[in-house]
Every structure is written in C-alpha cells, then in structure tokens.
C-alpha cells in the first residue's frame, strides 16, 4: 500500500532545474532541434510513435529531446499527451496492398510481382563503426532506376489463391463498431484477435522481441518464415459526415510483416500454412516481425494447439507488454514507502521474537 507523503517542494524544484541543465549539457555545444531528431534519428522517432501509439513526428521528437533520449520516458510523455486531445473518430482500415513501397522483401518467394526491394536497410552492412559519419561528411544523392509500374500485391494474397495459405477472414462492414479498443474499455480475458493486435502494436519492442525469440528456440515452436515485410506510406481515410464521403487525411509510414508458419492441420482444418501478422507505425521491422511471431503464438487456442509456453499465454503476454504500465509499477518502488516498511519492520520484529522464544524453549 502506498501512503502519501508531504514536503520536499524546494528539493523537487531544484532537482527539475538540475534536470533541465543536464538535459541541455555543455552550452558550448549547439542545442539540438526537433527537426534534427526527426531527420537524423528517425527510427527513434518511429519507435516513440509506435509505442506511444500516436503518429506525430514533431511530438515524438520533442518527447525524445525532453526525456534526454530515454525512449520509455519519451513514450510515457507521448501517451500522457494523447489523453489531452479529443477523439474525432476511427479511420477506414488502411490498405497495405496500396502502399508507396520503400522496402519489400520476402524470404519465401524469390520472384515476386513487383520485385524484392531492399530500400534503406541495415541488412548486409558489416556493422563496422564508421568514423566518417561523426565528421558530418556530405552524403551523395541516392541512385535512381526506372520504377516498375506494376502493383506489388501482398505475397500472402498470391499464395492464398492456391488454398495452401490460411486466408484472411472477411468481415461484415456492419460490425465495424464492434472492433475492440483498449483505450476505451478495460481488457477482459480471453481477448479477440483485434484487441490482441492493438495491444501488440503498441507493446514494448524488447519484450516482444524476447518472446518472439523464445518461440524460435522451442517455446511454442511454430516454424516461422517471413512471407513478406513491406515498409512504406499508406493513406489514412476518415469518413466525414458533414461531407457525406471519406477524405484522405494524408499518409503515414507503416511496417507490415506477414509471417508464414507450418501447420499440420487438425480434425477440422486441412494441413496448410498459418499466419502471424505484424503492423507497426513507422519503419520498424524488428518490432513488426516480433509482433507477428507473438500474434501467431497467441492464436494457439484458435488452432487447438497445446498452450505450454509463455508466448502462448495471452494474459501473461498482453498484461506485461506495455512498457508504460510496466515502468510505472516497477519505478513506483523507489518512491517513499516509509509506512509500508515500518509495518513490515514491526511484523518481522514480532516474528523474530516468536522465533527466539521457540529456540530458547527448545534449549
């Protein structure tokens, strides 16, 4: 139990002034601007938007600056800010098949319509530190080539036609209002997949990475391969009642991962590939891949699989993936708990007295 304390106002004010000083650092070094963070630390901004669950680059960059680069603190700031804004509505579902593609790879299909596009990737770099970057050298303009005008269909839709891949389950447009929203209703287990995907999309990258890795190491083994990863921009459309039609609000960058998993089939379902899905704000394929591994593991109940591993335990995974909740509860332990401790001290003293009395009686 936490009992409130009073006092310390001057110390707290001075601590925050000291924080502001340390955040700014050496005044001889130019102050960082949010535009620099957006342009040059873009993947930190993307992570802050994804786990802050708010797509707004300027706000995420400000949060990173304010938190001195502590991303979980920055995500906390973004989550707190979003509670101050009214909700205008729910967008139409984005169409990832109609993406302005910046990267698209498949580990399962060599020859894809639309091709394999590496994009701005760390893959195949040698992971050697490059001192030239620290010197701020001029960077050449990127090479260009004739673009393929053909659409690049989602790989899973292509294989789905042969009946070997689990199809996307259609939905009834009238049911749109029944899409679960964990920002509006408290979670009640067991969850439907829509709520799990929402929680996973804003979950901590490190936590999901570890759980995804655990499934590869044999804790809920389900033989994953990347069907497709695509990164790029998609339109966000909102129905506008006063206009009587939907309009585009602009584009957001997302990363999508289609994980393809072996499934030996069950009494009801023939052997086929099943799928795990990852969709994340910004450019973050590690997160999207981890999300898709966890999504597939959490579908164990649906496929009648044994639930034996942490990654398959819905309540465990979903209750612990949110780093703002986790940090809140872990970090509150450092706040004054003097009354709790006093009570525990009294209890230990009583128990100790009893223990010593028993010892003496035995002698």
């Amino acid at each position: 139990m936490y009992v409130a304390v009073k006092g310390g106002e001057a110390a707290i004010a001075n601590a925050h002034a000291l924080l502001a000083d340390r955040r700014r650092g050496d005044r001889a070094v130019p102050a960082l601007r949010t535009e620099q963070i957006i342009e040059q630390l873009g993947l930190a901004v993307d992570r802050c938007m994804a786990e802050g669950s708010l797509y707004d680059r300027e706000l995420a960059a400000l949060a990173i600056l304010q938190s001195r680069g502590d991303l979980i603190e920055a995500i906390f700031l973004v989550r707190a800010y979003r509670t101050t804004l009214p909700r205008f509505g729910y967008s139409r579902p984005i169409d990832t098949a109609d993406m302005l593609i910046e990267r698209r790879v498949s580990a399962t299909f060599k020859d894809l319509p639309g091709g394999q596009l590496l994009g701005p990737t760390f893959d195949y770099t040698h992971r050697l530190l490059d001192p030239a970057i620290a010197e701020g050298n001029d960077i050449a303009e990127p090479v260009t080539a004739e673009a393929d005008p053909a659409r690049a269909p989602r790989v899973t839709d292509m294989l789905g036609h042969q009946g070997l891949m689990e199809p996307d389950l259609g939905f009834d447009p009238v049911e749109q209002d029944e899409v679960g929203d964990l920002t509006r209703e408290p979670l009640q287990y067991p969850l439907d997949r829509d709520l799990r995907l929402q929680a996973l999309a804003r979950g901590d990258e490190g936590f999901l990475l570890a759980l995804g890795y655990s499934t590869q190491r044999g804790y809920a083994r389900n033989h994953p391969l990347v069907g497709e990863i695509r990164i790029g921009e998609v339109e966000v459309e909102l129905d506008i009642p006063e206009l009587g039609f939907p309009v585009s609000l602009g584009r957001v960058r997302v990363t999508e991962c289609q994980m393809v998993n072996q499934f030996k089939g069950s009494a009801k379902v023939p052997p086929q590939f099943t799928r795990g899905y990852g969709l994340v704000f910004g450019q973050s394929e590690r997160k999207a891949m981890s999300m898709s591994l966890c999504d597939r593991a959490l579908r164990a109940r649906e496929f009648g699989e044994d639930i034996s591993a942490p990654a398959q335990d819905e309540e465990f995974v979903i209750s612990h993936l949110d780093n703002v909740q986790s940090t809140g509860f872990v970090e509150h332990l450092k706040l004054p708990h003097y009354v709790d401790f006093q009570a525990e001290l009294d209890l230990i003293r009583t128990m100790r007295a009893k223990f010593e009395a028993t010892q003496e009686a035995a002698e």
């Binding site: 996307d168 899409v179 039609f245």
Partner: protein, 151 residues
C-alpha cells in the same frame, strides 16, 4: 455507423485529398499568391484531435485499432456563403484552415482552384512520389539460389 459510400471521382473529394497531402508551406504560398482573397469566418475550429487509425488482421481481414494520429480540422464560411471543411494529419491549425478556405473556394470557382492550386500540388506530389519510387527501384535485388557444389 455504416461506412459512407466512396465516390471515387467526386471532384471535391479529390480536391480535399490533394490539399491534405500538400506541404503546409505550399498551401501558404498558394494562399499568398491568390489574388482577390475572400473574407471568411470560422464556423468550427481550427482544432486538433485524434483519429484512431485502423489496420486489418493479415492485411485484408477483420479491422483492428493500430494507434492514433493527430489530426487538425477547420470549417469556414466565405462571405459569399460557401462552407468549406479542412482535415489533415498533424497539429498545423493554419493548414487545416487553409484547406477549408480552398474547399469553399473550390465550390465557388472550381476551374480557377483546379488550375492555380490543385494542378501544381498534384504535379509536385507525383514528382516527389516518382523520385521516391525510383530511389527504391535502384535497390531491387535478384536472389539466385545456388546449386550445392556449384560455387
């Protein structure tokens, strides 16, 4: 709520899409170059709020809530009576208001707005997308599966 119908070729819808996609600076420049600026009054906003962005499980399945995005909106009325609505991603209230003004002007005089505002915006957007596609196309790779013992 049942989803609204999507009039794919509605000129007003296409105009609003082009305006929302535009850079705020381009809209400000277009407004400052607009001769004979009409008087307008705010009807609602401009104001900033959130839209919950939805995705679909598996890309094409049942919808789920992916996360929110900041959105600004404004409604204005021109002195001549036309009502314009502006919606765009982000927290730029001036941009939302300018979109609303151009939407109202588009109802009054679509040809002029098309020629002087929308056509240049669309050309700029197409050029930017083409450049991005060409940069991505240069990273297209063909993987060869090696026969064992052949390398």
């Amino acid at each position: 709520m049942t989803a609204l119908p999507v009039p794919d070729t509605d000129p007003r819808r296409l105009a609003l899409n082009a305006l929302a996609a535009a850079d705020a600076n381009a809209l400000t420049a277009a407004w400052s170059n607009w001769s004979d600026k009409p008087d307008f009054k705010p009807v609602r906003g401009p104001e900033t709020g959130l839209v919950m962005v939805r995705g679909r499980a598996g890309g094409g399945g049942a919808p789920f809530n992916l996360g929110e995005a900041s959105v600004s909106r404004a409604t204005v009325r021109l002195e001549s009576g036309e009502i314009g609505h502006g919606y765009c991603l982000g927290r730029d209230l001036d941009k939302a208001r300018l979109i609303a003004v151009f939407d109202a002007l588009f109802q009054r005089d679509p040809a002029t707005v098309e020629t002087w505002i929308l056509a240049p915006l669309r050309a700029g957007a197409t050029a930017a997308d083409t450049k991005r596609k060409q940069e991505t196309a240069a990273t297209k790779v063909n993987f060869f599966t090696m026969v064992r013992g052949d390398n």
